[in-house]
């Protein structure tokens, strides 16, 4: 279960906090404190994930990322940055990162994203070919039909996308921001609980009338779909 993660971060405090947390989750963490060193270590391609700070000495994060992608190293990259504007986030994603997390962040948020990225690397098959199932829930991505306990659920298109995303991250915490980014493709932070309202609607359709709930709220972090 443990994975190799390269952490390129020059702030000692953040680095040790992250290393400790990720070690507790069973991952091994190698650390680089400047962009050049980080790029050097990353080029052997042996890591499962790279966590990259954007502002680094010697070589900045985006340059490291561009160099990696130019060298055809496709290790998933999660950018950490204090640059929080929508434009900064878009720029980071356009440079070839797989995710972008704004500082300060909660460790739960980081962990959720790290797990989602590691998971994506694990299942590199065409996702639409597979039927997804979680407990007695079955999802057919081709026809976009959902059944629970054999009974067809009537979902709106967005509710379906939401559920499919949950199902692809089965057993892992999914945060509100991840949902907004992945399901709606918006990168701003809404000032309302709009995501929660959607999730609770989905939950009503999914879990009402069933003894065992599938969609769980993880306090202080987000949600999780698990049997």
């Amino acid at each position: 279960m443990g994975r190799k993660i390269l952490l390129i971060e020059d702030d000692r405090e953040t680095a040790s906090y992250l290393t400790k947390g990720l070690n507790q989750e069973g991952h091994s963490v190698e650390q680089a404190t400047n962009g050049q060193d980080g790029l050097f270590r990353a080029t052997d391609g042996s890591f499962d994930l790279i966590i990259l700070d954007r502002m680094l000495p010697v070589l900045d994060g985006l340059s490291v990322l561009k160099a990696l992608r130019a060298a055809r190293i496709d290790t998933p990259v999660l950018i950490l940055s204090a640059l929080a504007s929508v434009g900064d986030r878009i720029e980071g994603l356009e440079c070839g990162s797989d995710d972008y997390l704004v500082k300060p962040f909660s460790f739960a948020e980081l962990l959720a994203r790290v797990n989602a990225l590691l998971r994506r690397r694990e299942s590199r098959v065409d996702p639409s070919e597979h039927r997804l199932s979680v407990g007695d829930l079955e999802i057919d991505p081709l026809s976009r039909t959902v059944r629970r306990g054999g009974k067809k659920l009537d979902l709106k298109p967005r509710e379906y996308l939401l559920l499919e995303y949950f199902a692809r991250n089965e057993g892992r915490v999914v945060t509100r921001t991840m949902l907004l980014e992945q399901v709606w493709d918006y990168h701003f932070d809404p000032g309302t609980n709009v995501i929660d309202v959607h999730v609770s609607r989905l939950r009503r359709k999914l879990d009402e009338g069933f003894e065992k709930p599938l969609l769980h709220t993880v306090r202080g972090a987000g949600y999780m779909l698990a049997a």
């Binding site: 434009g87 720029e91 704004v102 309302t192």
Partner: protein, 455 residues
């Protein structure tokens, strides 16, 4: 060399040059061909006479003088004069002793011909013969000769005077310009010394200096306004951060004091929520200043505004319903393409919708519309809530301009300000209007010529 002196010299030089041109013109007009002809005739005649003298001596000269007097034209002047004055022969009246100075050479002068009373202007060549006698030959010229002579002298004087006057005027001009520019420079100096209260004094003449001064003053007013705005923003940012920070602090304090673990967990959750709210405020402030600085234009792309609004309406529909309002979306009949920042516009529109839900849900209906226009696209969000009276709308769109400051809900009062700055990024504007009843917020975005071409 000081600027004043340089300007003075330049003005003097220009005056001199233009005077030279005028004087030269006068000179050439008066010193015309006739004058040149007379001059040459006189010289030739004198040469012939001296040649006669050289080859034939005095008798030949006497003959020639006699011939000239007999047969020559009446305008001819010819005379042989003794060394001490006193005419030996010829038609020149020498008594009273004429002004003829005993000097060789060509000259224009007044003389009297024998038997005439009025002196006349003549061009003469005076030549001293080896015997000591003076040979005078020449022609009576027109009246103009003397005048011309005087004129030439006068022109020379005029030239000198003009040069001096030019320099003098130049000095006055330079002094004037220097003073006017000095006024402006003084103000610029004060600005350099961080005093923005000074203004350029205006002469009221409405000249170029006044215009320059007016522009500088207008610029200073604008800068002062912006600085004032910035100061207000910083002040209100500091002020508005006080309440969330103090809430955060008291929540953290309470969590530290709490003894029951579940209560403590609850309080810590609140600490995190307060911190998140703070982060949201800071991000919004950052986003506003980014948009106002027009960064982010390189992330512009084509997208369908109708589609975007539809997505957002769908996204907020459940939230509106939960707050007791119906969210209606009037889908435009055809795509509404716009070249812009999709993510930021999504945020702007979502701010308007969130605003409507937060303050206008009580009205029961929220309506989102997209008006595709030839030249501008308008995105409207209308609610049926209490609305904002016309005289308080400016306040509502200001950063941190929350109208009911006693409310401590999630709204940081940045929603409308952010929407407005995003409109500015797209060269558009945010408008607030009466929805009769309720509040109508509109984002008006121009469809530019460049966009039209790209389409």
């Amino acid at each position: 060399m000081p600027t004043t002196l340089r300007i003075a010299l330049l003005a003097g030089l220009l005056a001199l040059l233009s005077n030279l041109a005028v004087i030269g013109f006068i000179y050439f007009r008066t010193h015309d061909e006739a004058v040149v002809t007379v001059h040459q005739q006189v010289l030739e005649q004198a040469k012939v006479l001296t040649d006669v003298y050289r080859s034939g001596g005095k008798p030949a000269l006497d003959d020639a003088i006699g011939d000239t007097m007999t047969y020559g034209d009446p305008q001819t002047v010819i005379a042989l004069i003794a060394p001490r004055g006193g005419e030996l022969m010829g038609n020149l009246e020498t008594r009273p002793a004429t002004v003829l100075p005993r000097q060789e050479g060509y000259r224009n002068t007044l003389i009297r011909l024998r038997g005439q009373t009025t002196p006349r202007e003549a061009a003469l060549v005076i030549h001293r013969l080896p015997t000591g006698n003076w040979l005078v030959s020449g022609r009576i010229a027109g009246e103009g000769f003397a005048i011309r002579d005087t004129l030439e002298r006068s022109l020379l004087i005029a030239l000198v005077v003009a040069a001096l006057l030019g320099l003098f005027c130049g000095l006055i001009l330079a002094n004037y310009v220097g003073q006017r520019i000095g006024d402006i420079a003084t103000v610029a100096d004060r600005i350099g010394a961080r005093d923005l209260s000074r203004r350029v004094p205006l002469s009221g003449a409405g000249d170029a200096f006044d215009r320059l001064g007016e522009q500088i003053n207008a610029m200073l007013d604008r800068i002062t306004g912006l600085m004032e705005e910035l100061r207000l923003l910083t002040d209100s940012l500091a002020h508005d951060l006080r309440s969330p920070v103090s809430r955060l602090r008291s929540a953290a304090h309470a969590a530290a004091e709490a003894e029951d673990p579940s209560e403590q967990e609850e309080l810590l959750g609140s600490v995190i929520r307060q911190a998140d709210a703070l982060m949201r405020i800071l991000t919004a402030v950052l986003e506003i200043s980014r948009s106002e600085a027009l960064t982010g234009r390189k992330q512009f792309n084509w997208f369908d505004v109708g589609e975007l609004a539809a997505e957002l309406a769908e996204m907020y529909d459940p939230l509106a319903e939960e707050k007791g309002a119906r969210l209606e979306f009037d889908r435009p009949t055809r795509p509404v393409p716009l070249f812009g920042h999709r993510q930021l516009l999504a945020q702007a529109v979502s701010n308007l919708i969130e605003n409507a839900i937060r303050y206008g849900a009580s009205g029961g209906e929220i309506r989102v519309r997209v008006h595709p226009g030839e030249r501008r696209i308008r995105i409207e969000v209308g609610d049926r809530g209490p609305g904002i009276p016309a005289n308080r709308r400016a306040e509502a769109r200001r950063r941190f301009g929350r109208l009911d400051s006693s409310r401590s809900d999630e709204g940081a009062g940045l929603g409308l300000a952010l929407a407005e700055s995003i409109a500015h990024l797209h060269e558009g504007r945010l408008m607030l209007d009466d929805n009769r009843p309720g509040l109508l917020t509109m984002l008006e975005l121009p469809v530019h010529a460049q966009q039209a071409r790209a389409a």
